[in-house]
Amino acid sequence: MNGTPRGFNRFMLVLLGLVLMVLGAALVALAAVPPFARWWQDWAGRQVLQLGGLAAQTRMGSGAGSWIWLIVAAALLVVVIVMVSWIANQGKGRTNVLFDRTGSADDDGAAGRVVLSCAVAEQALKSALVERSDLLSASVTSYDFRGEPCVRVRVLPRQGVAPHQVAGDVGALVEAMDALLGVEVPVLVSIGSGARVRFTKAERVR
């Protein structure tokens, strides 16, 4: 539910996969099929000659190289920027405003603005969950999901705890919070297990 660009991830992986497959197939063909290798040397040799001619025409004064290299460098710089922004977009999308409304004359006439921080929901849910003995840990974070704030509750129950009971209890807590705050935001409850759960005792008595 975070802002990871999933479609773009898949598009880029497909693109890189296809490029690598074509490259690999071409290398195998060069090694194994002599007619293809002859055609490649013939075709690529002509391209290299053309490139050499182009480089000679575009020389920047004596001693320096061709300005073609500056264009290539700029293109590579663009690639680096795209890659860095691709990495930076993974897992982003945290927010800290749960609810924001400005009072208006046709509402109740009160001037001013009400802003609820996400910390309200996070701390209320977290403090209710950490005192349970059947949960090893609970964390609550808020994300901006398509312009709308969403709360994500991650709980790690001890081994053997029935997940539907945990889900029902968290659901009841969320309904109580809805009644308290007067706003309903989408809530995701993720019940998981981690290394910490696996190496501790199972819940025997509930």
Binding site: L16, G160, A167
Partner: protein, 191 residues
């Protein structure tokens, strides 16, 4: 179920492909930075660091010459395999080992491991055996309960099955798995 909840659940039950994307992006940017270094050295008329770009292009254009065919073929197969891995990661749905619990207020996803632990506990109580004698494997559509009975004590398979099915019905999972109970032929002693 509201529309944002359905979208959130779809995202939570499918992989985001973020780790592989980060690896691919790092490799790509390292290659691009190296290319940038060599082209800038060339543009400024400095000697190359590892290989001069025109020299590299010329060598690639003469390719089967200059290397052994075996090396070239192995490199090609390696690239082909990497490409297939990336392509498969891009195209396959990438379901995560999670189930959805239907609830009318909150969206709930559960790791299969948690479901397995809860069902193992239920099966253990129904069979009256120790924790080590029960193993539960949960996949998207099936739940396999393997029980090793204590030597000399008869176990009722249908009773275990009913107990596990009752627990699963209480969980109201989506997709709903079917239960299969396997009693081992050999028992354990000294538990």
């Amino acid at each position: 179920m509201s529309e944002p909840t359905a979208r959130i659940l779809k995202r939570e039950t499918h992989s985001s492909r973020a780790p592989l994307s980060v690896i691919a992006a790092i490799v790509m940017s390292l290659l691009a930075v190296y290319g940038l270094l060599e082209t800038m050295l060339r543009a400024l008329g400095q000697p190359p660091w590892l290989i001069d770009p025109p020299d590299a292009v010329r060598r690639i254009s003469e390719l089967p010459a200059g290397t052994t065919p075996v090396l070239l073929g192995v490199a090609g197969v390696l690239f082909l395999l990497l490409g297939v891995i990336l392509l498969a990661n891009g195209l396959l749905p990438g379901r995560r080992a999670r189930h959805v619990i239907t609830d009318n207020r909150v969206a709930v996803v559960v790791d299969d491991e948690v479901i397995a632990a809860a069902l193992a506990r239920r099966a253990r109580l129904a069979a009256g055996v120790t924790r080590e004698q029960v193993m539960v494997v949960v996949s998207a559509r099936t739940v396999q309960v393997n029980v090793r009975p204590t030597s000399g004590i008869w176990l009722d398979e249908s009773q275990i099955q009913a107990a596990v099915e009752a627990e699963l019905a209480a969980m109201a999972l989506d997709p709903t798995p079917t239960v299969k109970v396997n009693l081992a032929n050999t028992g354990v002693i000294g538990v």
